[in-house]
């Protein structure tokens, strides 16, 4: 059985961020809004926790950042997936799906294994 990430929430947040960025460059606020819209509550611990996650991803070389003008003409820091980030998203998505499948299988099983 594939192991779930050590810190479930942190790992999930990273995966969500990578996923959001796979649609294209975005600043932190946009990422936060999208995640909220799609999940409703994952960021309930505080939107701010998104930022250390973003900076850590940048440190790991999975995303890169650049100051650009936002659509409303404000300077904002835009994040973008790197090639490595894209690869990471693929493998983590696969792991995650496998993990969910495995857990699901267990939960659907009715009879105790021999």
């Amino acid at each position: 059985m594939p192991r779930p990430p050590q810190d479930l929430l942190q790992g999930t947040l990273d995966l969500l961020v990578l996923k959001t960025l796979s649609w294209g460059p975005a600043h932190g606020y946009a990422i936060a809004r999208w995640i909220q819209q799609l999940t409703g509550q994952v960021l309930d611990v505080g939107e701010g926790s998104l930022y250390p996650a973003l900076h850590r991803l940048e440190e790991r070389g999975l995303v890169k950042s650049e100051w650009q003008l936002s659509p409303n003409n404000r300077r904002a820091k835009f994040y973008q997936l790197t090639t490595r980030g894209r690869q990471q998203l693929r493998t983590e998505t696969a792991t995650w799906t496998e993990f969910v499948d495995a857990v699901g299988k267990v939960l659907r099983t009715t009879a105790q294994p021999a």
């Binding site: 701010g48 250390p52 100051w67």
Partner: protein, 896 residues
């Protein structure tokens, strides 16, 4: 920081990282809050409510901000580190690639640096081992040597027992004064007898130089209080192991030295060999009867001893000299008979050991420094030439955005790589150089303690030189070419028509070429002077025929040999030796030429001045003159009838005869030895003048000290030299000589066995060594200078191919083009030669001590050296010039 605006690594480092990162994080987070607030306002909240709600939703702002900053700073540091390592690595790879592309340039620079670094490192190890290494005594800088001198000449004569005692008690600036005399003694062992080097020292000696015994004790003042009262000896660690098997019961054991029983009281630590750096045994000075009559202790006028003292804290050499001058003046007053015109000269230990070697070493070190300068100049001019060749490359790189700092760093890396390569090869050159040089160093040139080797200190010195030479001299020109304005550089690099006529005009290259020529000339002038001096020295006739003559020393202990026994021994040994088939003739004498053991005395002519004349006395058997090949010019040699009872006779040197009896027959003349009541001698013969002590003293000068011979039978010495003239090509073996001596007395060691011809060669060894070393340096310097000239001319000519082609297309003949180039070369060379001659005039004075019958500004040497340099420099100009005219005019003109 935005990746879109790259900055050079070091400048980015200078930037305060923190402020950038902090500002960025703050801006990013506040952007979020503002956007959220705006959205909440849009959904109907008031401004303040929206702000508060946004902050609530965000969470702990300060905590998050700090965490982001921490992460970013960590990332920034890592990026820098890898960036710097990567840059360095890139620079290194680029440098190596560049060198591969120009192997000629690279190997020229490395070879030049290696020669310069190697030579200076080798020389450094020589100087280090002699001048820089602290002497192995306690605070050696405070130890002074006191020499008794004869005024007004200041000749070193040594001191007598009573004088040294007075110096000790009457001075105020020295903590103590100790007597010191290098001696040699026969040690009787169960096997063959051994000759030992030793030191006769007064009681305070060991305390003064700060040496302690490893076993037992050293000689103390209480061991040295009365003549022959304390027969004790201290031995060296080496002797203890070699002759006594390191036996721990050695203390208290009796050893037999010069047939006298002495008790061993101590063993010195390993490596300690006394002030003479050769001693194996030490005896109290009151045991003088081991080697000389004990009555000498009382004689104020019998001088040959050395004394050492130690400066009191805070006392300078000059203070002590003034103090001891006062002591000498008081002694002159108290003892006018013996101490008139007697003084004391203080010397540092170093001065005492090095003497004139010091000036030779400094001269050679100076020469090596000049040599290194030439090497560095060569590297600089090679770099300049290459800098110009690379100007286009550099300009292109700058035009496409490489910044200057980066370029300079790149060039610096190249310089360091070259310097390291040159340094490594240079260390090898130094090692080989020292190995090759060591056997050539004449005996006695370096003090006994000096053993030159390429050690850690020498390597550190070489590394320093490498960095200095490679980085400073290599990079400065490169930096210069990097500093140039891009557009000028691009333009110039495109059209290379700098002009042939420019060769002789002032510029960086030209300046360097002139400097090189000048330095090479200074070195060559030095070598030339040394060589001429050596030739003069070798041409000097020693006054005897040393070839085929074997010399050996032997000591007849006074205990067993009175004067009759000595004469009998000498006669028997001569007879035995002369009966051998390989021996033509044999003789015994008090000393031999260049043996260093001549003794001096005073003679008075009947109508001469009161002072008398100092002369060197030699006692010889009748066969002495024939064996050594000294011609008897007038009168007769000694015969077997000159014996103890017969009238006292003397043979004088030709120089003495000409000086004292220029208009009379010297045969039959009289003189007295010592005072007016001394024994009277009759001159019976005149011998050719022999150079006993050195080859350079002018023995015909009025103040010189003549040589006088006496029959050995009338003046039997206890320390004697055996001399044997061998027949043809059948040399006498050492074993045969030992066997013949042992047949008469098996307890007598013979020592210092040598061919007299090698003693003679040793006389010119210093000159030989000096001229060889200087000669090699200056020859290589000349080659380097020639390469430098060749390089610069070839470069200028190479850049002027188009001009040459045009000139030739317009009908100029090859010779006129060559002449144009040569004119420039001649201008440079002449300037260099003039400068060099001026430099040689200014500096050759330092060689004066080393020169014999050659002026330090010898015009013949100077002009021939100048001519040589001129010729070499012009050929170095001619070769590239000649090649330049062989251009295919059409091709060159189409090319550009």
């Amino acid at each position: 920081m935005a990746p879109s605006s790259p900055r050079p690594g070091w400048r980015r480092l200078l930037h305060s990282l923190r402020s950038d990162i902090r500002g960025d994080v703050r801006a990013e987070l506040s952007f979020h809050l503002e956007m959220r607030t705006a959205d909440l306002v849009a959904s109907g909240l008031s401004r303040d409510e929206a702000r508060a709600e946004a902050e609530r939703q965000f969470g702990d702002m300060l905590l998050i901000r700090d965490e982001c900053i921490t992460i970013d700073e960590r990332r920034e540091r890592r990026v820098h580190r890898t960036e710097m390592i990567g840059d360095m690595w890139n620079d290194l790879r680029f440098a190596l690639r560049t060198f591969r592309r120009s192997p000629g340039f690279t190997s020229a620079v490395i070879a030049t640096l290696a020669l310069g670094i190697g030579a200076s490192t080798a020389m450094f190890s020589l100087v280090d081992s002699t001048l820089l290494r602290p002497l192995p005594f306690h605070e050696p800088d405070d130890i002074v040597v006191l020499w008794g001198i004869k005024q007004p000449e200041g000749d070193i004569r040594g001191a007598s027992f009573p004088e040294i005692a007075d110096w000790r008690s009457m001075n105020h600036t020295l903590t103590d004064v100790a007597l010191f005399d290098p001696i040699s003694l026969n040690l009787r062992t169960t096997a063959e007898p051994v000759r030992l080097s030793g030191e006769m020292v007064s009681g305070g000696f060991f305390q003064l130089i700060g040496a302690r015994a490893a076993l037992g004790r050293t000689i103390l003042p209480s061991d040295d209080d009365a003549p022959d009262a304390h027969p004790v000896a201290v031995i060296s660690d080496a002797l203890w192991h070699e002759r006594f098997a390191g036996d721990s019961a050695i203390i208290g054991r009796i050893i037999t030295l010069n047939d006298r029983a002495l008790t061993v009281i101590g063993v010195m630590p390993p490596g300690f060999t006394g002030l003479s750096f050769a001693a194996d045994v030490w005896v109290p000075s009151m045991m003088i009867s081991l080697t000389s009559p004990a009555s000498i202790i009382e004689r104020r006028g019998t001088r040959w001893l050395m004394a050492v003292g130690r400066l009191k804290p805070g006392v300078t050499m000059a203070d002590a000299q003034r103090d001891i001058d006062g002591v000498a003046a008081r002694l002159t007053q108290s003892y006018p008979e013996t101490n008139t015109d007697r003084g004391v000269r203080l010397m540092s230990l170093e001065e005492n050991y090095l003497g004139s070697t010091r000036s030779l070493l400094f001269t050679l070190f100076g020469a090596v420094f000049l040599f290194l300068l030439i090497a560095c100049v060569n590297v600089t001019s090679l770099q300049l030439v290459r800098g110009i060749a690379r100007r286009r490359e550099i300009a292109v790189r700058m035009a496409i955005g490489a910044d200057r700092a980066r370029l300079v760093r790149q060039l610096l890396v190249e310089g360091v790589v070259l310097a390291i390569a040159g340094g490594v090869v240079g260390a090898l050159v130094a090692w080989l150089g020292v190995r090759a040089m060591t056997p050539l160093i004449p005996d006695g040139l370096l003090p006994a303690y000096a053993h030159p080797e390429v050690n850690g200190r020498a390597l550190a010195f070489g590394l320093g030189v490498a960095v200095f030479a490679g980085v400073i001299f290599g990079v400065v020109p490169a930096f210069r070419s990097a500093r140039r304005d891009i557009s000028t550089a691009l333009r110039e690099a495109g059209a290379s028509n700098s002009g042939l006529a420019r060769i002789g005009r002032a510029g960086a290259h030209q300046f360097l070429v002139v400097g090189q020529i000048a330095i090479a000339l200074v070195l060559l002038a030095g070598a030339g002077l040394m060589l001429r001096s050596l030739r003069h020295q070798l041409a000097v006739s020693p006054g005897f025929r040393p070839d085929g003559v074997l010399g050996a020393r032997l000591n007849l202990p006074a205990e067993r040999y009175d004067s009759d026994a000595r004469i009998a021994f000498a006669n028997q040994l001569i007879d035995r030796l002369e009966s051998l088939p390989s021996v033509e003739s044999a003789a015994m004498s008090s000393d031999l030429p260049f043996g260093g053991s001549s003794s001096a005395a005073i003679l008075r002519l009947p109508e001469g001045d009161e002072d008398g004349v100092r002369f060197y006395r030699h006692a010889g058997s009748p066969s002495y003159f024939a064996t050594l090949g000294i011609p008897i010019i007038r009168g007769r040699s000694f015969t077997t009838t000159d014996t103890k009872g017969s009238p006292e006779v003397a043979v004088i040197s030709d120089a003495m005869a000409k000086r004292f009896w220029p208009n009379a027959d010297p045969i039959g003349q009289h003189f007295r030895i010592g005072g007016a009541d001394g024994p009277q001698m009759t001159v019976v013969g005149v011998a050719g003048t022999v150079r006993y002590r050195d080859l350079t003293t002018n023995l015909a000068a009025p103040g010189s000290e003549p040589d006088v011979y006496f029959p050995l039978a009338q003046h039997p010495a206890s320390a004697m030299e055996i001399s044997v003239r061998q027949k043809g090509s059948s040399p006498l073996s050492l074993a045969t000589l030992q066997r013949e001596v042992a047949a008469l007395d098996p307890s007598l060691p013979i020592y210092d066995v040598r061919q007299l011809s090698s003693d003679l060669r040793t006389q010119s060894a210093t000159g030989r060594f000096g001229s060889l070393t200087l000669g090699v340096f200056s020859a290589v310097a000349l080659i380097l200078a020639a390469i430098g000239i060749y390089g610069v001319v070839a470069f200028v000519v190479g850049r002027s191919r188009r001009e040459i082609a045009i000139r030739m297309a317009l009908g100029a003949r090859a010779t006129s083009v060559v002449r144009l180039i040569l004119r420039g070369g001649l201008l440079l060379t002449t300037a260099g030669v003039l400068l060099g001659v001026a430099g040689a005039f200014a500096t050759s004075r330092v060689l004066r001590d080393q020169l014999f019958e050659v002026s330090a500004t010898d015009p013949i040497t100077f002009s021939s050296v100048a001519l040589l340099v001129l010729l070499v420099a012009l050929s170095a100009t001619y070769l590239p010039a000649r090649r330049a005219t062989r251009v295919e005019v059409q091709r060159v003109l189409r090319e550009e």
